[in-house]
């Protein structure tokens, strides 16, 4: 079993955040209701954006450089 690097752990977190945000977006699109709109805007979007930012910061973090 290979040891995961810091970058890979961050990518895992980013992926989980993005996937949960996108699944919440799918759930919100099943309803035509103001609460669904609010859930999309205040929960799904921030989760996805947090995941994307985590991904980008992981790329530029010191241990994010590719191993040789």
């Amino acid at each position: 079993m290979t040891t995961r690097t810091g970058l890979e752990r961050r990518l895992t977190k980013a992926g989980v955040l993005i996937a949960s945000g996108l699944l919440l977006q799918v759930a919100a699109s099943a309803f035509v209701h103001p609460l669904a709109f609010v859930a999309f805007l205040l929960a799904a979007c921030p989760l996805v954006f947090a995941g994307m930012i985590l991904f980008l910061t992981a790329l530029v973090s010191p241990d994010g450089s590719p191993s040789r």
């Binding site: 992926g15 996108l22 699109s29 035509v32 209701h33 103001p34 590719p66």
Partner: protein
Amino acid sequence: MTRLDLLVIAFVVVCAALAMLVAFRSEMTRARGGKILAFFGLFLLPALSVGAGFSTQMERAQSTSFCLSCHVMEDHGRSLLVDDRSYIAAIHFQNNRVPRERACYTCHTNYAMFGGIRSKMHGARHVYVQYFGTIPAPNQIKLYEPYNNRECLHCHGGARAFEEATAHTKTPEMLGNITSNRLGCTSSRCHDTVHDVGSLADSKFWKASLP
């Protein structure tokens, strides 16, 4: 749900699956192909998904069913079916003078710069009041500001039936007063029965269903 909505949902599900794949198989990013996949799965496609979702949600927020999904608006929805030509909202709805699927939004959007954004801000306030404030009785619901003729003139402005109507040309300055909003369409005793939800109990209704 339209075919486009289903397409967007399918796209978002695929993006979520890809993000999960990268999340739980993060070792794949050691190879060049894995890095490219991670860029697509964790950045590019989620950004597109959120953009598509935002567009879909904004489109839905303009639908009549969206506005009437709150219990407090039910009477306003019923007022669209009143069988009485003096109900201005009802005659517009029943005669397709506004798109039935977007009836509320068509008349209650401010047709000025940032009007759509203001409508959304008002909508956010409605949601706040619904869950954290005191919900008014349907007949106590009032507009935030007096109804502006600009919203009527968005469609009626320039129309012959509007400009040559006897009631609109009683005096030489009357049409100008209407178009400049000095004489309100709904507040000058001409078209003042709009939703009038307080008198729905005594009304007859057109037998049709709301969208």
